[in-house]
């Protein structure tokens, strides 16, 4: 294992690196203080790069873990971890969120730069989109500034060739002083070569090259770096100097706490740069980095003219003033309709099949063990008949829409409307995900830029009827009143989201920024990706749903058998009977519905000992119950997600508001509907 084939000779590439780049963007060797990890049996590899370049695909290929992938920027909201065994070496792989820069624009940028600079992974694999080389190199340059040991995975080279671009990856490696491996991660091409190179670089560590800026900037960086001589931060010194010049808030306050005079010096140097260029210093530095990236790109890539692409043609429809909106209505409507039509029929088939195995009508008398077993079985059946027919079809189509790249077009078309709620088009993505399950939708609100926008988006997500609530609406209203009232509830909910969104925008303090989003190209969704994605989502839902179902319904039947129900219902009577006009027995439903919304239906069946709800409740009562269930409080899992994202205070504020609001609204609707029905 001493020989290491396929490695570029470090010396040769650095020499030629100096020769090939002119003085303005010179690269030269740079001493690194990175610790040597040759003695460690474990190796840590971080994947970093722009959004939507295929980091998660590389991650999945390396580790065999199924990290969610899809064709929109911002899927990886949290760093994912997996391990890979290679030649007896345990390699820990970390998938960082996609970012464009190491500024302080978003939390993800801060987290990623601190991870790379402070936790010092042994290798950073920079996944680069081969067809957008300049912008990706802009990020690569910043990785090198952090003196990270970088390997470039030049990804999606197949797409690049289709677009008439060719890249001399050897030369690119020489110019940057790093190893470049061409890959097609989604198909697994180049992954074994990448693994080889990871091991190889770990053994033969070489110092990354120093990227030099234009003279007036470079002089000031060096001046600051020498002032930083004795300051120990854990970050590379030169990088600190660059960040100080960019007036980076985090770094400035960090250094300010150590030596105020350096910050003063940095401010006056930054001011000098600003006076020369007439722009903020951070923009000047970005422009300089792009200049370097452009030069390198021009040296290594050949571009043939590109004709009208599929993306252009499709966007002419998807972004058309009339056809575009029709497409959205068609796609979203189709998504929901398909779910309900396919779902309802599969659900029926499944229910019939299970009833032939064992009776799952609620049992509330007899020995406790029987009651519990029956409860657990009923819960299991309810889980199966919810997840397979409704959730699965929804997730499959959602994955197709995501993978095609269409989701971002919906964002674009609805951007203007979202502005009225202090949000922008990107917020459409969590809202649509919310129709599946609110929990992942809540986490995906991290694609929003400011804390205010994240909170607003998450609040609106909690009002989106997820599949569980859809089952309640279908099971109560569509089945026993009619389908139009069920649809009316849906439309009413959308109106409610818009109205509450506007109010929340006015009430919640904080800043909102507009839409800036990368537009991915369309591609034909791959069956493998769609299925994996669907499975990953369904699996995580199963972990929550089945235990809650089985335990929930067993406990409920036990409580019922023990005769505690009436006392709970009596306490809630003024609200349930007095204000909402519902039977007293639903009191317990509203409490248990917090665990999972679809338990409502299950328990209604247990309590009334019938599945024919029309015989025990009037249409108005069914509609009111469905309405209250739809908005009264997110489920327990969602409340916990809100706590995790926004803290106890905001999570309880949302919860309390929605309970009070749903009950008030329910009472009013009951009185209005009683007049007309």
């Amino acid at each position: 294992m001493n020989s290491c084939h396929g490695c570029l000779s470090p010396g040769s590439c650095m020499n030629s690196g100096r020769k090939n780049v002119d003085h303005k963007s010179q690269l030269s060797s740079y001493g690194s203080d990175r610790k040597s990890s040759d003695t460690k049996a474990r190796l840590t590899v971080a994947l970093a790069g722009n959004a939507n370049v295929g980091k998660s695909a590389v991650f999945n290929q390396l580790t065999g873990v199924d990290q969610i992938i899809g064709n929109w920027p911002g899927k990886t909201v949290e760093r994912a971890e997996g391990t890979l065994q290679h030649q007896g070496l345990k390699i820990r792989v970390i998938d960082l969120p996609g970012i464009y820069s190491f500024s302080t624009y978003s939390m993800e940028e801060l987290v990623s730069r601190d991870f790379i600079a402070l936790e010092k992974p042994d290798i950073v694999v920079n996944v680069v989109d081969a067809s957008a080389l300049e912008r990706n190199l802009f990020f690569t340059i910043q990785l090198l500034e952090l003196s990270a040991p970088v390997i470039i995975a030049l990804n999606q080279v197949d797409l690049m060739e289709k677009k008439g671009i060719s890249i001399d990856h050897q030369k690119l490696g020489e110019l940057l002083g790093v190893t470049v491996v061409p890959t097609v991660a989604i198909k697994g091409k180049g992954i074994s070569e990448l693994t080889e190179q990871i091991i190889c670089l770990n053994k033969n560590r070489r110092a990354p090259l120093l990227i030099k800026y234009g003279r007036e900037v470079e002089e000031r960086i060096e001046k600051l770096a020498s002032l930083l001589g004795n300051v120990e931060t854990g970050y590379p010194r030169r990088w600190i100097a660059i960040k100080l010049l960019e007036r980076d808030e985090e770094i400035t306050s960090l250094i300010d706490g150590m030596d105020m005079t350096i910050v003063q010096a940095a401010k006056s140097l930054a001011k000098e740069i600003e006076e020369i260029h007439g722009e903020p210093s951070s923009v000047v530095l970005s422009a300089e980095r792009y200049k370097i990236a452009d030069e390198i790109a021009r040296n290594v890539q050949m571009i043939r003219a590109e004709g009208d692409t599929l993306t252009d043609k499709l966007d002419r429809i998807a972004l058309h003033p009339i056809l575009g909106y029709l497409t959205i209505v068609g796609v979203i409507g189709g998504l929901l309709a398909w779910t309900f039509i396919i779902g309802a029929s599969i659900s029926q088939v499944l229910a019939d099949a299970f009833s032939s195995i064992e009776q799952f009508e609620p049992v509330v008398s007899g020995p406790l063990a029987d009651v519990l077993w029956n409860g657990a079985f009923t819960g299991f059946v309810a889980g199966i008949t919810l997840v397979i027919p409704y959730v699965l079809p929804f997730y499959i189509i959602l994955a197709v829409i995501e993978d095609s790249g269409y989701l971002t077009r919906i964002s674009l078309m609805l951007d203007k409307g979202m502005h009225k709620m202090g949000l922008h088009g990107k917020a459409i993505i969590p809202l649509i995900l919310g129709y599946g399950c609110n929990v992942p939708a809540c986490f995906s609100c991290r694609i929003m830029e400011t804390p205010k926008q994240k909170l607003l988006a998450a609040f609106l997500v909690t009002l989106v009827p997820c599949t569980a609530r859809t089952v309640v609406i279908l099971g109560l209203v569509a089945a026993f009143v009619n389908i139009w009232w069920a649809l009316a509830l849906y439309v009413f909910d959308i109106a409610l989201i818009i109205a509450l969104g506007r109010i929340a925008f006015k009430v919640v303090p904080g800043e909102s920024v507009g839409l800036i989003m990368e537009m991915p190209r369309y591609h034909v969704p791959s069956a493998k990706v769609v299925l994996k994605q669907t499975w990953a989502r369904t699996k995580s839902l199963l972990w929550v749903v089945f235990p809650a179902y089985i335990v929930g319904s067993a406990v409920l039947q036990a409580v019922y058998a023990a005769g505690f129900l009436d006392s709970i219902n009596d306490v809630l009577r003024p609200v349930t009977v007095g204000w909402l006009g519902l039977p007293a027995a639903v009191g317990i439903l509203l409490i248990f519905g917090v665990v999972r919304k679809e338990l409502t239906i299950l328990m209604l069946a247990i309590i009334f000992q019938t599945m024919d709800f029309a015989s025990v409740m009037t249409p108005v009562q069914l509609i009111v119950l469905a309405l209250v269930t739809m908005i009264y409080v997110p489920c327990l899992a969602l409340i916990l997600s809100l706590v995790r994202e926004f803290g106890w205070k905001k999570a309880s504020a949302i919860t309390v508001f929605e309970v009070v609001f749903a009950i008030s609204l329910g009472g009013i609707v009951f009185r209005l509907l009683s007049q007309i029905m």
């Binding site: 464009y100 820069s101 500024s103 624009y105 067809s131 957008a132 300049e134 912008r135 802009f138 722009e279 903020p280 951070s282 923009v283 970005s286 422009a287 792009y290 452009d294 571009i303 993306t311 966007d315 972004l319 058309h320 003033p321 575009g324 909106y325 971002t408 964002s411 674009l412 078309m413 951007d415 203007k416 502005h419 922008h424 088009g425 830029e449 920024v513 507009g514 839409l515 800036i516 989003m517 990368e518 537009m519 190209r521």
Partner: protein, 235 residues
């Protein structure tokens, strides 16, 4: 201590200083309707900032730095007085008080622009001298023609990218907006001097799609209105 307060103190000292340049603490306190004790306190802090020299029992004198600041603020005050009475026709009785409030919040640049607009007036309505600016120009005509040139560039060549038609190109000339947005745009490759193409506008005033460095970006209309370009070909 707020900048305005410091400036008021500097002005007062400048106004009432006697022949030897010294202003008595009691006099300053009377003029500013403040207690001598707190005026002393302010003077001590100003002395630390090297704006005045403070000697107990005698009073304060402006340092060179202090005097320069005083001239600057007086220049703005008097220019504003001319502007308020001649351009805005404000009641002469209110002109002084309005100018007193405004003088603290306008930059030197605005002061100079007012000066240019008024064709470099020599005296304020009360007849006091307006100190000249510190620019390194020979005559006030130079200032005027330099300004004309800049204004021309701004008027003729720079347009917001949203004024382009689909498929038209331009060179980014100026980004306007919050630090955060500008940072994001330049990180995504929208740096001044870069060629940029308007791909399409979405309906109902929605975002525009741009092509820059061979990547496609969607940018909300409110942000796009602040991306200014020169038309490609024109320099």
């Amino acid at each position: 201590m707020p900048k305005e307060e410091v400036e008021e103190y500097i002005e007062t000292v400048f106004d009432i200083a006697g022949k030897d340049g010294t202003a008595k603490t009691t006099e300053v306190a009377k003029k500013l309707q403040n207690s001598p004790a707190s005026v002393t306190e302010v003077f001590q802090s100003m002395a630390r900032n090297d704006l005045v020299k403070y000697e107990p029992y005698r009073g304060v004198t402006l340092t060179e730095k202090g005097a320069e600041a005083a001239m600057k603020i007086k220049r703005k005050h008097r220019l504003l007085e001319v502007f308020l009475s001649e351009v805005l026709h404000i009641d002469p009785e209110n002109v002084h008080d309005e100018a007193c409030k405004m003088e603290h919040c306008i930059s030197d640049e605005v002061g100079d622009a007012i000066c240019r607009l008024l064709d470099a007036p020599a005296r304020c309505p009360g007849g006091k001298l307006i100190y000249p600016c510190k620019k390194g120009i020979d005559t006030c005509n130079d200032c005027q023609s330099a300004a004309d040139k800049e204004a021309n560039i701004a008027q003729r060549k720079i347009i917001p990218i949203t004024d382009l038609k689909p498929c038209q190109k331009g060179i980014i000339a100026l980004l306007r907006g919050s630090q955060k947005v500008i940072q994001r745009l330049s990180d995504l490759g929208l740096t001044p001097g870069t060629e940029i193409t308007l791909v399409r506008k979405t309906p109902l005033g929605g975002p525009i799609e741009l092509s820059v460095r061979r990547t496609a970006l969607a940018v909300g209309r409110d942000i796009a209105d602040n991306i200014f370009i020169r038309k490609a070909g024109e320099v």
